[in-house]
């Protein structure tokens, strides 16, 4: 069994994100492996720990600094990693085209991708990658089991949940509920330093995949649009405040 788990490096949720002149400024923000991607790393490790012989490869496409997030995955227990080094911030479709080439070469049975990473707020990478590979996908997965050559997953849909069976190879997007990701231990952090992290320039990987080394869409601006809020605090006891609130919602905000 071989599993590829895809990673992104994103600002920590508590980090301050700034923008000026239409460009994003992440300086000073703590950058971490995306929380949703961690569920995929953890699930791969658990599959191995349940006794299935498994090679786990982390794969990321991002700037030089993303190597730190990859090291976290290696320290959690991933065997080796491929880093497609890119200074271009690819969109999901472009990244899927590039990564499909690497995944094809690795030929895993299973690819994990985080359900929706906290930088681009996109859930498109998993489905787009599956399509580029000609594989099926399941998104927002909270449960996963194996039976010879197929997986059964439970995932969230618009009005509830659904249980699907997928033939392998397949792409599965991961989220909260699937497992509780572990923290890397100190010995494993040390061990991770000796693991292989292969850096490959975007231009080469894209050329090999026959994919453009550029976005499919054009990012024109990133801005912080703070919505102005009334910020009115209503005083008095519970009854007074509640009555005043309902009055204001009806007469002032006109939403009741």
């Amino acid at each position: 069994m071989k599993i590829v788990t895809i990673l992104k490096q994103v600002p920590d949720a508590e980090a301050r994100v700034r923008a000026s002149g239409g460009t994003l400024d992440l300086s000073g923000a703590t950058l971490v492996i995306d929380g949703m991607d961690e569920y995929g790393v953890e699930e791969a490790l658990r599959i191995r720990e349940r006794g299935m012989e498994t090679e786990i490869v982390a794969l990321a496409c991002g700037p030089e600094r993303a190597a730190e997030a990859i090291r976290t995955a290696l320290a959690m227990g991933v065997d080796r990693a491929v880093h497609v080094v890119s200074d271009v911030t690819l969109d999901a479709v472009a990244m899927a085209r590039v990564l499909a080439g690497v995944v094809q070469d690795e030929a895993p049975e299973l690819v994990f991708v985080g359900g929706k990473q906290a930088d681009w707020d996109s859930s498109a990478l998993g489905p787009a990658l599956a399509e580029a590979l000609g594989w099926p996908h399941a998104d927002w997965t909270t449960e996963l089991t194996f039976e010879d050559g197929t997986i059964t997953v439970t995932h969230d849909i618009d009005d509830g949940t659904e249980t699907l069976t997928l033939p392998l190879p397949a792409v599965v997007t991961t989220q909260q509920g699937l497992n509780e990701p572990r923290y890397p231990t100190l010995p494993n952090i040390m061990k991770a330093k000796r693991k292989t992290l292969e850096a490959r320039p975007l231009a080469d990987v894209a050329a090999a995949a026959g994919a453009p080394a550029d976005r499919a869409t054009e990012l024109r601006a990133s801005e912080i649009e703070a919505r102005s809020r009334r910020n009115v605090v209503l005083d008095g006891d519970a009854k007074t405040a509640a009555t005043e609130l309902v009055r204001r919602l009806r007469d002032e905000a006109k939403v009741l």
Binding site: A13, A124, E131, P136, E162, V233, A238, L245
Partner: protein, 321 residues
């Protein structure tokens, strides 16, 4: 030609479908070329309803679409887009829409404008607004190619009014392939039936961990929601505690809503929660901690105990006519 894909459930279009109609009309200058696609195992009733709004309606009727799967929808939508030579394919950014639209884009070799909150023409292409960084950043993104695929966030446009005359409904044959149904649907469980769907709700009452128990949450949050005819939402802490089903979770890992009124009761206002509701028109916060981050995004706040304030709110709402 612009193709809009109609999201439907239980024989009726979802609210987002009417929003796509508005957007489609604006983009085509209402020149009669707007085309809607209704795909399902029995799309007839939905197609008739949509024909009241759109000049051309295509139906795809196939057992492969019961229930719909990402790959069967991809086949149907990509086939329709290619057959018609669509310049833009607009899909509602429901969970399902977000799941298959990237596949459609990849299959058509088209760029994807994902989960957009606004969309306009821009020369030969389109320019859109979308959110990123846990909904704290607004991006302006443009795309042009023979075809652009767009998933449109619920609430991005107002719902359309019916057209002066009814449109024409025609059937489209789609050549499904065996691989389209390789994913088996073993079972489906619907959550929260009989209540307003969260995405469609004009008012959402959301509760957090501060309610202390499932029973109190039921009495107070669900009670107030029922009194207002509102949808019920919750935080991850509440879902993790098993008080409420996952389908009601709002935030990064849950649903994104932008109702007219959002009441956040005993919700601290973590970034991951805010990303799912910070586009609501009016936000109310009730929290006993005056420093809770939720107050920073609130239009109206009450610093107090939900065990006292929510019953008082129920009473005040009951007094409305």
């Amino acid at each position: 030609m612009i193709l809009i894909v109609i999201d439907h459930a239980d024989g009726a279009p979802r609210k987002s479908a009417y929003e796509l109609v508005s957007l489609g009309r604006a983009l085509t200058g209402d020149d009669g070329s707007l085309t809607a696609l209704v795909a399902g195992d029995a799309p007839g009733a939905v197609a008739q309803e949509i024909a009241r709004f759109v000049p051309r309606v295509l139906t795809v009727s196939a057992p492969e679409l019961a229930p719909p799967r990402a790959e069967t929808m991809t086949r149907a939508v990509a086939h329709a887009a290619t057959t018609l030579g669509a310049e833009a394919v607009l899909v509602g950014a429901s969970r399902f829409g977000l799941s298959y639209s990237p596949r459609v884009a990849m299959r058509l070799g088209a760029p994807l404008l994902e989960d957009v909150t606004a969309l306009e023409r821009d020369g030969d292409g389109y320019v859109a607004k979308r959110l990123s960084y846990l909904a704290r950043v607004t991006e302006t993104v443009a795309a042009s190619a023979p075809t652009v695929v767009v998933s449109v966030k619920p609430g991005a446009a107002a719902a359309a009014d019916p057209a002066a005359s009814a449109g024409e409904v025609t059937e489209l044959e789609v050549p499904f392939e065996p691989d389209d149904v390789r994913v088996g649907v073993a079972s489906r469980r619907a959550a929260t039936k009989g209540r307003v769907a969260l995405e469609d709700a004009d008012v959402v009452v959301a509760g957090g961990r501060g309610f202390g128990s499932a029973e109190t949450f039921d009495d107070l949050v669900v009670g107030l929601a029922d009194a207002l005819g509102a949808g019920v939402g919750s935080t991850r802490a509440v879902v993790d505690a098993g008080w409420r089903p996952y389908g009601e979770q709002i935030g990064q890992t849950g649903k994104t809503v932008a109702p007219r009124l959002y009441l956040a009761l005993a919700v601290s206002g973590a970034v991951q929660h805010l990303s799912g509701m910070n586009r609501s028109k009016v936000i109310v916060a009730v929290n006993k901690d005056a420093d809770a981050p939720i107050f920073r995004v609130a239009d109206y706040g009450i610093v107090g105990d939900v065990l006292e304030v929510v019953p008082a709110l129920q009473e005040a709402v009951a007094g409305l006519d």
